[in-house]
């Protein structure tokens, strides 16, 4: 095994090095041995995500990872979705929340299976769901009796975008109250999503929000995203979102 040492200028050299068998007593020299890893930072997460995906395939459930900033309207949209599709599709929810069961309680009162994963057990309160957290909540859901599983991620526009949880599609909710520039400020999230739901459209007359500019900004960071403008509060446009969700459930994965 070669040896490395570092010079003051930061360069590193490897030396083939014979051990001498002299007296080392009272003298402990240390060296550094460079070990090449070349592994994705998220390799372990991706391994567990693949296990989740295999479970979804085995049980025939299509999984959508739903993300947004806090307060964009994910839970309100899910309530509308369950009401609209409940008779035609078997929907399950895996709910990620830093603390509390408020959203989970609201959703389970609509008669769908809900598995709550509080993320506060992580280091200082995790700001996203990763594949392992999702896996920990799957056992509480009747996957083989579901058509669609919606993973409601923790409200956050940065962290959830990086973590594959084994989903088939990623969707996000962006409320028009957040402004037109969010796609440019959080490009990783907008870039990662198959669908961008543009929520709170009922507030458009009261805001200076420029919908065309928002759409152009989304297209600048993700030309392939499908945009669905709607109001989860009034229900306007929710049918298009439901149609997309139904199409996901009936498309073989």
């Amino acid at each position: 095994m070669g040896r490395f040492h570092r010079h003051a200028d930061g360069t590193v050299h490897e030396h083939d090095h014979e051990h001498d068998l002299g007296d080392h007593s009272g003298y402990v020299a240390t060296g550094a041995e460079r070990v090449t890893v070349l592994e994705s930072i998220l390799a372990e997460n991706d391994r567990v995500a693949a296990e989740n995906r295999a479970d979804f395939a085995r049980t025939g459930v299509v999984t959508v990872n739903l993300m947004s900033a806090p307060g964009a309207g994910k839970t309100t949209l899910l309530k509308r979705t369950i009401t609209a599709l409940g008779g035609r599709m078997r929907i399950g929810i895996l709910e990620g929340d830093i603390a509390t069961s408020i959203d989970a309680d609201e959703l389970s009162s609509l008669g769908v299976p809900v598995s709550l994963v509080n993320t506060s057990a992580g280091f200082g309160g995790e700001c996203h769901l990763d594949a392992t957290m999702v896996r920990s909540g799957l056992g509480r859901l009747p996957l083989d009796r579901l058509d669609v599983l919606i993973v409601e991620n923790v409200g956050n526009l940065v962290c959830p975008a990086e973590f594959d949880v084994g989903q088939h599609a990623r969707a996000m909710v962006a409320a028009i109250t957040e402004g037109e520039e969010k796609p440019l400020k959080y490009p990783v999230m907008f870039h990662a999503c198959d669908v961008v739901v543009v929520n709170k459209l009922d507030l458009l007359p009261h805001l200076d929000f420029d919908l065309d500019r928002f759409v152009a900004n989304v297209q600048a960071v993700n030309p392939h995203a499908r945009l669905i403008p709607l109001s989860a509060r009034t229900g306007e446009g929710v049918d298009e979102w439901c149609a997309w969700l139904e199409a996901q459930a009936t498309t073989p994965k």
Partner: protein, 113 residues
Amino acid sequence: MHELALCEAIADTVVRHAGGEPVSRVEVRIGHFRQVVPDSMQFSWKLLTEGGELDGCELAIDHVPAVLTCRTCGEETKLDVPILLCGACDSADVQLLRGDEFLVVAIERVVAG
């Protein structure tokens, strides 16, 4: 803000490859498109490793600029802002060449001489 979670993932990877030996340095390669703030990552790394088995382990971040290539005109564009447009002809038919790297490249284990 996700730097802490990423540092946890890096630390797990380091420990898995360390074979029980102390580790003095870990090299990571992170593309600009990953939205990692190097200072914030260094802070998170220190916070996470202090007092644990990786205490004192240096985190070396190789930050890779985001570069895309245009399928329309063939030009390469270095991205300062994350807008996926060719800098030469404004085409959106582009491919990211570099900038989405997210690797633990190597570790340096401390070995007794």
